[in-house]
C-alpha cells in the first residue's frame, strides 16, 4: 500500500532532493560536448565577423541614411530584456511569497547573468571604433571633460553595470548553501570539491548562518526589485528621450519593462523544457511551474498589447502627421512584415495561454515561448529600425540595407556566447535550488516517493 505524501519522513525527501539535483553536476557526456562544439563553432564565426567589422569599419553593416541604430541595438535591448525575468522570478516573486518560483528561479537567475553579459557586448560592437569604449565610462579625459551625464547612453552604462553587479551577487548568494551541499557530495580532493569549498565560504548550515543568510537574502531581494524596473526603463529612455516619432512616448518605460519580463519568461520556458528532460528533473519543473509561468505570460502579454493599442490610438488621436505616418508605416510600410510578426507573436499567439489546457501542456508552452522570443526580437527591430527609417524628413526616408551577413553572424555569435556560458553554468552550478526546494517539496516528487512504498523503519523513526 502506498504511503500518504505527508507521512514521508523529511530526511528521506531531503536525501532524494540532494541526490536528484546534485546528479545534474555529473561529468558531462558526449551530448554535452557535441552541443558545446556547435556552440563554439558559431561563436568563432561571430568573432570572425566582429574582427572583419573592426578591420573594415561599420560600412559592412546595412546602415543607411538615418538608420544608424539597427540589429546591434536590437540585440542589446533583446538581451537586456531576456535578463529581466530572472530577477523578477527570484526577487519580486520571493517578496510576494510565490512558492512556485522555487524550482525555476535558479535557472532564470543564471540566464539573467549570462544574458546581461551578452547584452553588454553590443554597445561595444556597435561602436565604430571599439577601442574607444572607455568614453562610455564616467571618467574624464585628459582635458578633464566628463561624458555627457544627460545622455541616456551613460545612464545605460550605470544601469546595466549595476544590474550585472546585483544580479550576479544575488545569484551567488542564493547558491552558497547549495554549493556547500555540492561540496559535501563531491569527492574530496577533486577540483569540484576544491571549487565548491572555496565558493561556499565554509557554510555549515548552522542556525546562525541561516539567520544571516535569510536576512541578507531579503535585503538583496528588496534591492534588486527596483532594479528590475529601472534597468529596462533606462533602456527605454535611450529611445523615448529622443524625439523620433514612434520613440517619443511616455508609456515606453513600463511597456519596455513588461516586454522584458514577457520575453524573459518565454526564454526561461525555452531553456527549461529541454533542461528538465535532459536532467530528468520532471518532478521539480512540473506542470504547475509551467502553468504559473504561462500566467505571467498572459499578464505581460496583455500589458504589451495594451501599450501597442494605446500607441496606435494616440498616434491617431494626436493628429500629428508624423506620429500617424510612423504608425501607419509600421503595419503597411516597407517593414509591414516585421510589424505584423511583432503583433501576432506577442499579442495573438499568447492568447492561447488563457486556456488552462494550453498552460499545462509543456509542448504547447515550448512552441509559444519560441514565438514570443521571435516576436520580442522583432518588437525591438520595429521600434528601432522602422521608426528611424520613417522620421520627420521624407527626404531621409529609406529602408535600412541590412541585415548583412556580418550582422547575422554577430547575432548568431551572441546566442552562442550566451549558450556557452549556460552550458558551462548548468554543469557547475545546481540549476534547481536545493535548499529552497526542500522548504516546499514539489507535489510530483512527494507522489513519486509515496508510490515507491513504505519507507524503511529507520527512516520512519526519525
Amino acid at each position: 500500500m502506498a504511503t500518504l505524501a505527508r507521512d514521508i519522513p523529511r530526511p528521506r525527501i531531503f536525501a532524494r532532493i540532494n541526490r536528484d539535483i546534485l546528479a545534474t553536476l555529473a561529468n558531462p557526456g558526449p551530448g554535452w560536448f557535441a552541443m558545446m562544439a556547435v556552440v563554439l563553432a558559431v561563436l568563432a564565426f561571430g568573432i570572425f565577423c566582429l574582427l572583419y567589422q573592426i578591420r573594415n569599419g561599420l560600412g559592412v553593416t546595412g546602415y543607411a541614411n538615418s538608420v544608424y541604430w539597427a540589429v546591434y541595438i536590437t540585440n542589446f535591448v533583446f538581451w537586456v530584456g531576456i535578463a529581466h525575468s530572472g530577477t523578477l522570478i527570484s526577487a519580486i516573486l520571493f517578496l510576494f511569497r510565490s512558492r512556485w518560483r522555487t524550482s525555476v528561479y535558479r535557472v532564470s537567475e543564471m540566464m539573467t547573468v549570462f544574458a546581461v553579459m551578452t547584452a553588454g557586448l553590443f554597445p561595444l560592437i556597435h561602436l565604430g571604433r571599439i577601442w574607444k569604449f572607455y568614453y562610455l565610462l564616467p571618467y574624464p579625459n585628459s582635458r578633464m571633460l566628463y561624458p555627457d551625464f544627460q545622455s541616456p547612453l551613460i545612464w545605460d552604462t550605470f544601469a546595466v553595470s549595476t544590474y550585472f553587479t546585483i544580479s550576479s551577487t544575488f545569484l551567488f548568494m542564493g547558491l552558497i548553501p547549495d554549493l556547500a551541499a555540492a561540496r559535501d557530495a563531491a569527492e574530496p580532493g577533486s577540483w569540484r570539491h576544491r571549487l565548491y569549498r572555496a565558493l561556499s565560504f565554509g557554510w555549515q548550515g548552522t542556525d546562525r548562518e541561516w539567520r544571516h543568510f535569510n536576512r541578507g537574502y531579503v535585503f538583496l531581494a528588496a534591492l534588486a526589485t527596483p532594479l528590475v524596473l529601472s534597468v529596462h526603463s533606462v533602456v527605454s529612455w535611450d529611445f523615448a528621450a529622443g524625439i523620433v516619432p514612434g520613440w517619443h512616448s511616455t508609456i515606453f518605460a513600463p511597456y519596455f519593462v513588461a516586454g522584458a519580463i514577457f520575453s524573459g519568461v518565454a526564454m526561461v520556458i525555452t531553456l527549461v523544457v529541454p533542461l528538465r528532460k535532459w536532467f530528468g528533473l520532471e518532478d521539480y519543473l512540473d506542470r504547475n511551474t509551467f502553468d504559473n509561468m504561462a500566467k505571467l505570460i498572459v499578464l505581460t502579454s496583455s500589458i504589451v498589447t495594451y501599450a501597442y493599442l494605446t500607441e496606435f490610438f494616440m498616434a491617431w488621436y494626436s493628429g500629428s502627421p508624423f506620429e500617424k505616418g510612423t504608425f501607419w508605416d509600421r503595419v503597411s510600410g516597407d517593414y509591414w512584415w516585421a510589424g505584423w510578426t511583432m503583433l501576432i507573436c506577442n499579442s495573438v499567439v499568447p492568447l492561447a495561454c488563457w486556456s488552462r489546457k494550453v498552460r499545462r501542456s509543456i509542448a504547447a508552452m515550448f512552441v509559444i515561448s519560441i514565438f514570443i522570443n521571435i516576436g520580442m526580437w522583432f518588437e525591438r527591430f520595429v521600434i528601432i529600425v522602422q521608426s528611424l527609417q520613417h522620421d520627420y524628413l521624407p527626404a531621409a526616408w529609406g529602408p535600412y540595407k541590412g541585415p548583412t551577413w556580418v550582422e547575422y553572424g554577430i547575432t548568431a555569435g551572441s546566442f552562442a556566447w550566451f549558450l556557452m556560458y549556460f552550458l558551462i553554468g548548468i554543469k557547475i552550478l545546481p540549476s534547481v535550488s536545493v535548499n529552497e526546494v526542500k522548504e516546499a517539496p514539489p507535489e510530483a516528487l512527494l507522489k513519486r516517493l509515496a508510490a515507491e512504498g513504505e519507507p524503511v523503519a529507520a527512516e520512519r523513526g526519525r
Binding site: P254, S318, S320
Partner: protein
Amino acid sequence: MAAHTLPAGSAVQPLTPEEARAEILAAGERQPPGWLLPLFGMLAIVGFGWFAVRVASGDDPHPWRIYLQNLMLFTGIAQGAVMYTVAMTVAKAKWGRPVRRLAESFVLFLPVAFLLSLPLYGVMDQLWPWVEHPVEAKQAYLNPGFFTIRGVVGMLLLFGLSLCFVYHSLRPEVGRLRDSVQGRRRDVYDRLSAGWRGDVEEAERSDARRTLLAPILALVFAVTYSLLAWDYLMSLDPHWYSTLFGAWIFMSAFLSGIAATGILVAWVPRWLGLERYWTPSHRHDQGKMTFAFATFWAYLTWSQFIVIWYGKLAEDWPYLLHRGQHYPAVVIAMLLLVWFIPWVGLMGIAPKRNPVTLSLFSGILLLGLWVKLWLLIVPSVSPETRSMLGLDELLVTLGFAGLFALTTTLFLRTFPVLDTRDAHLIVPYRPIQPHP
C-alpha cells in the same frame, strides 16, 4: 523580522468556527455611535447643498471642476479597491483573505458614482473646452455624442462587472447565514441568495465565477478606465496627449483603493471588537502593499515626466511647464503627499504594524491623490491661476466624502466584515510565520 508575540488577554482564546461566525455576525449588529451617521449625512447635505447653490447662483464653472475631481477620486477608490480583490483572486493571495471583505465595502459607491456622473453630460460645455471649440483633427473622437456613449457604456460595464464580482463573494455567505439574521439584513440576505442550491454547490459555483471573472474584470478595468482617463481628464486639454496617461490614472485608482482599504484594516477590527481576527501581520502586509504601489506610482509619474521634459516638444511640454510655473506648490505637495511622506513613513516595520501610522500615511496618500486630480483638472481649464484652498474645494469634497462614508457604513453594517468561510484560517489565533 520582529518577534511575534501573542497579544495579552482573552484575544488569544481559541474559538470554534461556529463561535467565530456568530461573533462576526453579531459585530454587524453593533450600533455605531449615534452621531456618526447623522454626521456623514450632514456632510453630504452641506457639501451638495453648497454645490447646488454655487451652480444655481452663477456661471462660474469651478464647482463642476471640483465635482469632477471628487467623482474621479472616490470612484477610483471604490473601483481600485475592487481591483485589489481581483488582484488577490488572480494571484491566489492567501494573506489577503481577511482584508478582502473590507476592500469590497466601498463597492456600493459605484452605482452612486454612475448616477453622479450623469449630470456631467449636461454641462459638458462648461467643463471640456473642445465642446465649444472643436478640434478638427479629433472630431471623430472628441464629440459630445460619442463621449457620452463611451462614458455611460464604459461605466455600466465596469461597475456592473465589479458589482457582480462582489456579489459572488457575498452570495455563498449570506445564503448560509440568512437564518442567523433578522430584520433588514434578513431581507437583503434573502434577496441576494435567491434560488439557493445548497451550501457546497453555491460556494463552488461562486468561486468558479470569481476565478473566471477576475482576469476579465482586470482587462475591462484597464480598457474602460483608460478611456475614462483620456475622456474625463486628458481631453480637458484637448491638444495634449501622453501614452502613459491611461495607465497612470488606473494605477492611481488602484493605489487609492489599497490606501483606503488600509484605513479600514487599521480601524474596523477595533471599532467592531474583532481584533482577534486581524493580526499585526495583516497590517504589515497591507502597509507593504501601500508602500510598494506608492513607489510604483512615483515610478510611473517619473516615467511620464522624464520623457516630456527631455523632449521639450511643443505638443506636450507646455502641459508640464504651465503647472510648474503657475502651480509649483501644488506639484510639490502632490509628490510629497502621494509618494515621499508615505514612502519614508511606511519604510520601517513598526509603522506598518501600528494602526495609527498605517492609517495616517494611507490618509496622507489619499489626500495627495486628491491634489493630483486637482492639478490635472483645474490648471487645464481655468484661465486664471487659482488657489487650491477654496470653499468649493473644501465643501464639495466633504459632500462626496460624506456620501462615500455612508455607502461604506451601510455595507459594513449589512454584511459580515470577514468572510466567515475564512474564519477557520485564523481561529484559533496563531501567529503567522515571519516571512519577508
